[in-house]
Symmetry: D2
Subunit: 368 residues, 4 copies
């Protein structure tokens, strides 16, 4: 076992999640590389220091360049807003350090291309933070699709729906301004990444991106919402299969609507993030009278599960996804080999997002 | 109570369903008009006579014109293939008889326009056979949407998926030839009608219609499939709301995938035909800790239920939908007033189907 | 096909259900015996005549003896209160007429024994009205258990829960007086019959029968409730298997809680009457990673379904259960051979109810 | 923030779970007391050292007495077999150290009484490891019951079912010998603790405890199974409410069948550990047409959730339950005040288990 110094930029929602993950991952997965919470960075010295104490880091800073450059920081986790991702990643790669970057990789394709170029030039291990694809259930779904368990795929439908802005009277916040924090920018990368993971590349699409609530209450009257609330797209995968993807932040009642269904010639698969510990699988085999969707509860027989519990059906949760992610990043570093989703995979998501905007604006199919 | 002589053209899948419905509807709903199973028509005298005996009709014929013209036939039910609908309906309307016609109304818009014209010229009561919209759950959903229970609608997603041609090795049959028996022609009318019932008119759409399995085994080798297996469309309703509709006969594992979800500013509704006795309703009210989708089991408190059973949750089934339909047709005749879905409503469905084909062929948005 | 004259005693909840069933059964199942709704009986001439007209009977009477004796009444359906079952059945058997009697067979074991004796002396076909056991799903469950699909049974749990008296402020009615209308008398026969159908005879039990709300509001203040609200029993089947049965009319939120789960050495089965069109089956076979409960939607591949619809998953409902029952009674008459549940099977249920009361009073195990 | 040295006895299933929990809990809950993984103990030096390295402890030992006595071990976690619990706890209490002991507290009531006596004599903080009661959903259920949200309780049904010994051909292991490792000894404490947490004390019960598979294959032929496979009990709570509890290790298909349902005069609650992130709540209020069970997804509005994720419905898992437990134990130490379930609460469970055995042997009700 070898010590590895972890530096995390950001101590908010995801900064904390990664801090906990790196505190726990060694014991959970008995990794060869053992993380040391070396340094945390936040916008102010005060907040950085608060995160240091709260999460158990050795040191804190408000200067991400200091963190990146610190000799005791062996790997960099970027958990700050998308506008900051590129510069931080480029700096880390310049020093040859492995980088894990939260989704979406860059604000746009240009950002991401630069980041991929930097990553590939440096040869350092890189990974994008699409945690939802790492649940035991979705890893099992990927395995089933790959091994042909449901035959040739004929249809894919994916979505990610939440309702944090479903109420039209919810006040305007920073979330209501700027493409990169709208639904296409912020939420859709998850279901797009999911589709790519399960189905491979998208070659063309036709999308509608839309702002449902055009204004929201501000302190001095209605404020214009400048980004999108929900978006749908009809897609064509490189495999020839047709699909549909939907993302929404106005999906009243949905809390973790990361869901997909896949039809194949010999079976079907259904997953719903609101019941992340099960996968519904239909197999077109055996007598008709016995067929139906089987609710498979995840357990030690499925990917990424056994380290959390020897008992099947005992369940993993959101935080465990981040622990799995940490394990995979550490394993990649150890192997000197980036793993899905690499920065390149992250960039692919940006390309799809970009194409969707173009399609929505031109009301036409767009090739990728 | 008055006797009414019923003539049914067709004694197959739906002919039987309507025969049973008219045998039972009087006792179930204690209707004023009491149906008498007067005459059934099928392609041969032999089969017609078999249906007569099996379903309890007084007389049989292989000539639908005889049935339509028969003085003891007071109302005509068309349950024969779509190619026959128009001529039969026109003949019946010429005699001023009320007509119930199975979906889809005509083979295409031209057929349906002629049928609407004939219906409206005659002034006779007319109705199209979209039974799925008549379940207590969906009637309740319509009621909730209309009364604003879930606020302003922001998104609609509907589908109708089955898997009777999911197996690529299923042999080519008549179902694999001819637009009107493909998925757009035959299945999609149900979810389109459902969308229109819940959401009102569609004003534009963008569709992809597709044949998944291009050939199927025939007696002398592979046979070309000349119609479509599945289709999706992005739609815009007259209300301004965006939606999506999907229909498939290759949806492995789906048996009665007539399903929809509707998001509104104050709530959401979800329905799945594979559990037709419940409606899932979310209301964005009360403390956050108590919110969630409520599975409402249908009962006497909901439309169309009480006549079947005084106990809630005891359940209605497919055949009951047809009985409800019969009740509504009889009530319309009694009132001299056609009810949803009239022939005009049926024609609207054909128009959407037509537009979807055009859109798919031109790869462009089509206005209706 | 032969005509058979049906006489129904009672035109209430179940009288209507049977009237509809006999109106529809011929067309649905294409039965050899074709029912004619000959006569209906109710307490007053007026109500009997109302039922006649409403349900389509030829004649009405307020004298059940007249109905039983009428030469055009070939078979008698008893759908009047339990206190009337015995006398009507005895009179019908004396004339050698087949009798279908609603559950519970008699008010008590004595009643039922007399009825069984009369039935067996006459040699006439007899049947008890336990409709819930006739759903396609439960018939499939019985088939699976019998053919050993889930191996040797190791545990059975059944219940029937509703909530029509869950509200302590619901006023006292006739339902709150008299053992035969309490939960043990009125509701528990269903889950007991279900247990017997799936598992065979019960040989001993230990029960608690209880009145939850001891008084209820009456017009002049609180009224004593003299029967029971809910009851549980631990049972031992003749097969040696242990089980548990629960019945309640105070199960807040439950509308059709007719449910069971059965564990076997090679699989398990689960059913819930609030989703009567599916059966959940687990098979302990194949790789662990693929195991889980399969939700099998009933369809033409299952018992009693195909006559209602050629499409799987399209669903049957409460009224259809009564139609199936009518088919089975007609088939039994035609065959001259009573079918499960015969009067003897109905009496077995009374014996279990009786033993439960004794057990509850003595707080001890009771052998049957 | 203060450092606290943690010593864990046992490095198996639960030893690991607690090691991970204490590694993560500080960052998750930002606890005042910050755990230091000081020492782990296992049967051999080799295994202890392996656990040390794997989980990140500072030191290892094969002598639990050394661990307990070590000055840097400030709190003792007992995660070794039940036979060892008493001696370790007594030794730790003798030194005034706080003790967390895995369930079941002692092998039997005698053990537990001694442990309670030792705990109370020392005044040290003590806690028993019933983790399942700590999920956000079950904590919310407890809150709802306490605040009267479902009115007066009228019925309770709880169970814990798994299937790890459902296969009769599974070979005999140590699990098949000795009461404390049978279903009553090992599994039933969970659902009993759950019932006590939700409903308060049990005052009498009537149980059947049973070995389903009397022998199992051993290396030299069939081996006698000397403990029980499943058990049921009818219970009476001090509140007067009647209930039922079932535990099984032969419940084919069940993986995490920790489930309960509670009926009250104004609502009902249902929970199933196979979907631990939701609670089903029925409220008997509002119009009948809107009533039903609401599936409430746990989120920041519920107990114990927010520290894991700011987003509702994102889910917690098994390991998170142990982290919550660690938080609660640390908080108790900080407050100098033991929290539910204390050793006394753990002993109550042993008393119920004991009474169940007596009842099963005497086939009679037993008072507690
Ligand atoms: N994978 C997932 O499920 C989720 C991913 N995210 C992604 O994680 C990233 C962070 O989002 P949140 O944690 O929600 O944000 P947050 O607002 O909760 O936290 C952002 C953190 O970044 C720090 N920060 C901001 N600018 C900085 C700068 N210039 N230098 C150093 N530190 C800076 C802030 O001090 C703060 O600690 C985003 O890229 C977001 O898209 C966010 C939520 C969920
Ligand atoms: N609402 C629903 O759920 C469904 C609606 N349908 C619709 O019902 C209609 C009938 O379909 P199915 O019952 O499935 O067909 P089917 O093939 O089972 O039966 C067709 C019947 O029409 C008779 N027929 C055919 N040509 C005739 C003619 N020229 N003159 C007189 N009788 C003729 C045949 O003898 C046969 O009895 C179609 O329009 C179909 O789209 C079908 C299935 C389900
Ligand atoms: N299988 C099932 O799911 C159900 C079975 N039942 C059973 O059906 C039977 C009838 O119950 P409901 O229909 O609910 O009762 P109900 O009160 O709705 O109807 C009773 C009918 O019997 C008639 N009746 C009463 N006394 C009579 C007499 N002496 N002579 C002639 N007619 C008489 C009444 O006029 C009335 O028409 C009972 O045995 C009950 O246990 C009731 C409900 C559900
Ligand atoms: N709360 C829950 O969900 C669960 C609780 N448990 C409980 O946890 C406890 C431990 O069970 P498992 O972890 O499953 O057992 P295990 O067999 O996986 O691990 C037992 C550990 O205790 C150590 N040990 C045994 N005897 C010892 C001794 N005399 N001195 C020092 N170390 C010794 C062993 O070396 C081993 O590391 C039991 O009381 C069990 O009932 C077990 C599983 C689940």
């Amino acid at each position: 076992m070898t010590d590895i110094g972890i530096g995390i930029v950001g101590g908010g929602y995801m900064g904390k999640a990664h801090a906990v993950a790196y505190a726990a991952v060694g014991a959970v997965f008995e990794t060869t590389l053992r993380p040391r919470l070396e340094m945390v960075c936040a916008t102010s010295e005060a907040s950085a220091d608060r995160y240091r104490a709260a999460f158990g880091f050795a040191r804190a800073t408000s200067d991400w360049q200091a963190l990146v450059a610190d000799p005791k920081v062996d790997a960099v986790i970027i958990a700050s807003p998308q506008s900051t991702h590129r510069a931080i990643a480029e700096a880390a790669f310049a020093l040859g350090k492995p980088v894990f970057c939260e989704k979406p990789l860059g604000r746009d394709v240009a950002d991401s291309q630069a980041m991929v170029a930097a990553a590939e030039a440096s040869g350092a291990v890189n990974m994008t933070g699409f945690n939802y694809v790492r649940t035991p259930a979705t890893q099992e779904a990927i395995r089933l699709v790959r091994e042909g368990a449901i035959g040739d795929i004929t249809w894919y439908r994916g979505e990610h729906t939440e309702d944090f802005l479903a109420d039209p009277d919810a006040p305007a916040t920073w979330r209501c301004q700027g493409r990169e924090t709208g639904t296409m920018g912020d939420l859709s990368p998850h279901p797009i990444n999911c589709a790519l993971a399960l189905m491979g590349p998208i070659t063309s699409l036709n999308a509608v991106v839309e702002t449902v609530h055009k204004t929201r209450p501000g302190p001095d009257g209605p404020v214009q919402v400048t980004n999108d609330d929900h978006a749908q797209m009809m897609v064509r995968f490189a495999s020839g299969v047709m699909g549909h993807i939907y993302a929404s932040r106005t999906a009243t009642g949905k809390k973790m609507g990361y869901a997909y269904e896949i039809h194949g010639t010999r079976g079907s698969i259904r997953f719903d993030g609101e019941d992340q510990n099960s996968l519904h699988v239909y197999r077109a085999e055996g007598p008709e009278a016995g067929r139906g969707f089987t609710r498979v509860l995840t357990g030690p027989a499925h990917p990424n599960y056994a380290a959390f519990c020897q008992g099947p059906g005992h369940g993993t949760g959101y935080q465990d996804q981040i622990i799995i992610e940490a394990r995979d990043f550490l394993a990649a570093i150890e192997a000197g080999q980036s793993a899905f989703p690499t920065f390149r995979d992250g960039m692919e998501v940006n390309r799809v997002v970009d194409a969707a905007w173009t399609s929505s604006e031109t009301r036409a199919w767009v090739d990728l």
